[in-house]
Every structure is written in C-alpha cells, then in structure tokens.
C-alpha cells in the first residue's frame, strides 16, 4: 500500500495557516473550506451569494470563520453569518474576529502575526 501525504491547502491568509498549526498541535482534526453554503439566489435561481467558512472541525461538527478585517469592515461577514443562521440553523459556526485572533496570537507569542492584525486603539 502506498501512503500519501495529505495535500496542504492553499491558505488565503497567513493567519489561517497558523490557526491550522494550532489545531494540529492540540490534536484537533480540521478541513479547510470543505463546503460552500448558498445564501442568495438571482431571478434565474442561480446562486448569487455564497459563503465558504474557513475551517470545519468534524469532531465538533463546527465551522470556524476567521476574519482579520477591521471592526468597521466586518459588517459584510456578520451579515453573511446572520444569513447562514437563518437558512441553516442546524449548522454551528464560530466567528473569530480580529481582536480574538490578536489575543490568540499574543497568548501564543506569535508576535509577527499579532502585529499584522493589531493597529487598533480599541480593545
């Protein structure tokens, strides 16, 4: 039998890669963007808006979305997650905001990642 190494996903943002490493470290199984949820359809019934949460934790049946955008710009993502909750109430999803990720990176001593997403005077 030939064993193959799982293909490393192409992460969109460096913090996603770091987050995947953290999950690996604590022995948590994860999948990267495994599913896309349609959120809005046009008049022809085609999907107009969709949402692909960044991670899925199969043992928890939980999706995780990371966002590093500033609080003022997080509205679009919040709207998508609200729509997700309306259309797919059975789906568990956790949004880790910029400040959550900043605190996580500070806690783990990942200064370069923390500095990348700092830049705010508000807690």
């Amino acid at each position: 039998m030939i064993e193959t190494q799982p293909v490393k996903p192409q992460f969109v943002h460096p913090i996603e890669e770091e987050f995947a490493r953290i999950l690996d470290y604590y022995g948590i199984r994860w999948e990267y963007e495994p599913k896309t949820f349609p959120l809005e359809w046009d008049e022809n019934g085609e999907v107009a808006v969709a949402f692909s949460p960044d991670f899925y934790l199969p043992d928890e049946d939980r999706y995780v979305e990371l966002t590093t955008v500033r609080p003022k710009l997080v509205t679009i993502k919040n709207r998508k997650i609200r729509r997700m909750n309306e259309l797919y109430p059975e789906v568990n999803i956790t949004l880790l905001k910029r400040s959550d990720l900043r605190d996580m990176m500070i806690k783990y001593g990942m200064d370069e990642h923390a500095a990348d997403i700092m830049g705010t005077e508000a807690q």
């Binding site: 604590y26 022995g27 995780v64 956790t94 880790l96 996580m104 705010t120």
Partner: protein, 194 residues
C-alpha cells in the same frame, strides 16, 4: 475585609489597566461560593483538585482554602503552543501529576476557558487514566470564542471578548499578582511595544 492593597497600590501595573472588571471582593465572594458548592457535592469523596500551571495558582490557592472537606491537590504543566513547541509537533507535558488518579474523584480547576483547545487536550489525557469521575471548575469563561465543547460544572464569571489580566492571568508573565481582574490598555500591547 480585604487582604490585599487597593488597585492604585499596584502602581506601574495598575497604570496598564483601563478598567477593573472584577474586584478582589467580588472574586473572593464567588470563590467562597464555589468552595461551598464543591464541599457539599464532594462530601465523603476526598476529591483530587488538579490545576495546570501557571495561571491557576491564585485561584487554586483561594479555592482550596474555601473547601471545608478533606481534599488533595496536584498540578500539571504543559508546553503551550509557541514557535518552539510548534516545531516539536504536538502538546507535551512538562510536569505530570505526582500521584495516580485511577479510581479517584477528580476536579480539574482552570483559571480561564477560552477556545477550549488546551482544556480539551488535558481532559482527554486525564480521562485515559480512568478516574472515578472528572468535572471542571473554571473561574472565568470566554464562551463566544469556544471551538471545542467542554462542560463546566462549576463556573465563576463570564468574561467579555477583551484582553484581561490579573488574578493569575498574564500578559508576558506580568500582572498575575493583581488581586483583581481588569482590561489591559491597548497601549500596553501596541505594535511598537512588540
């Protein structure tokens, strides 16, 4: 009656705090309530309280003295995620329990539960040693960031999604000695301080 100094007595440390979230009096009152509940629930069980260093030590110390039944205490230490630990691949225990816990009633004492990643790992490790029971007592809970579901049988306070320090919670190993819990000023962890 307070056993410690007022916040302003902590000078430089207190200057880094923008707001006291839980005063020493509030924390001590809640710890006393938790100790009473644990004493009642574990009567006749001689439980073992287990904590993971370092953040838990002020809470463990106060909780232990608020419990009025016979009780044992033990500690663990693990290598938290870091650049160095990451290279080794997975969590490693830096200090294991001194005694066997097989068949014992275990109460895991935690200062703060955030994502649940560390707690989930440690509970799995402890369950494998076949204690008679295993429950969790956490003083602080950040529920919104939870990634892994972990039941908390005893809980002190819910924390907001902010960077908090004091009563064992640190920023770069400082602030643990504050007897209260407060918000850390953003200027303390601003980019030019990193």
């Amino acid at each position: 009656m307070s056993h410690f100094y007022p916040p302003e007595a902590y000078g430089e440390l207190n200057e880094g705090i923008s707001q006291v979230l839980f005063s020493e009096e509030e924390i001590q009152a809640r710890v006393l309530e938790l100790g009473q509940a644990i004493s009642r629930d574990y009567e006749g069980c001689r439980p073992v309280l287990v904590g993971v260093l370092k953040g838990v030590f002020p809470f463990m110390s106060d909780l232990l003295r608020a419990i009025t039944i016979p009780v044992e205490v033990d500690f663990m230490a693990i290598a938290s995620y870091s650049a160095e630990a990451r290279d080794k691949g997975y969590v490693r225990l830096q200090k294991d329990l001194d005694e066997s816990i097989a068949g014992r009633h275990l109460l895991f004492v935690e200062d703060v539960v955030d994502t649940g990643l560390t707690l989930n790992y440690l509970l799995g490790n402890l369950r494998a040693r076949e204690p008679a029971s295993l429950k969790v007592c956490a003083l602080f809970n950040k529920n919104r960031r939870r990634l892994i579901s972990v039941p908390l049988q005893y809980k002190g306070f819910d924390l907001p999604d902010k960077f908090v320090v004091g009563y064992g919670l640190d920023y770069r190993e400082l602030y643990r000695n504050l007897p209260f819990v407060g918000l850390l000023k953003p200027a303390v962890f601003a980019p030019n301080r990193l």
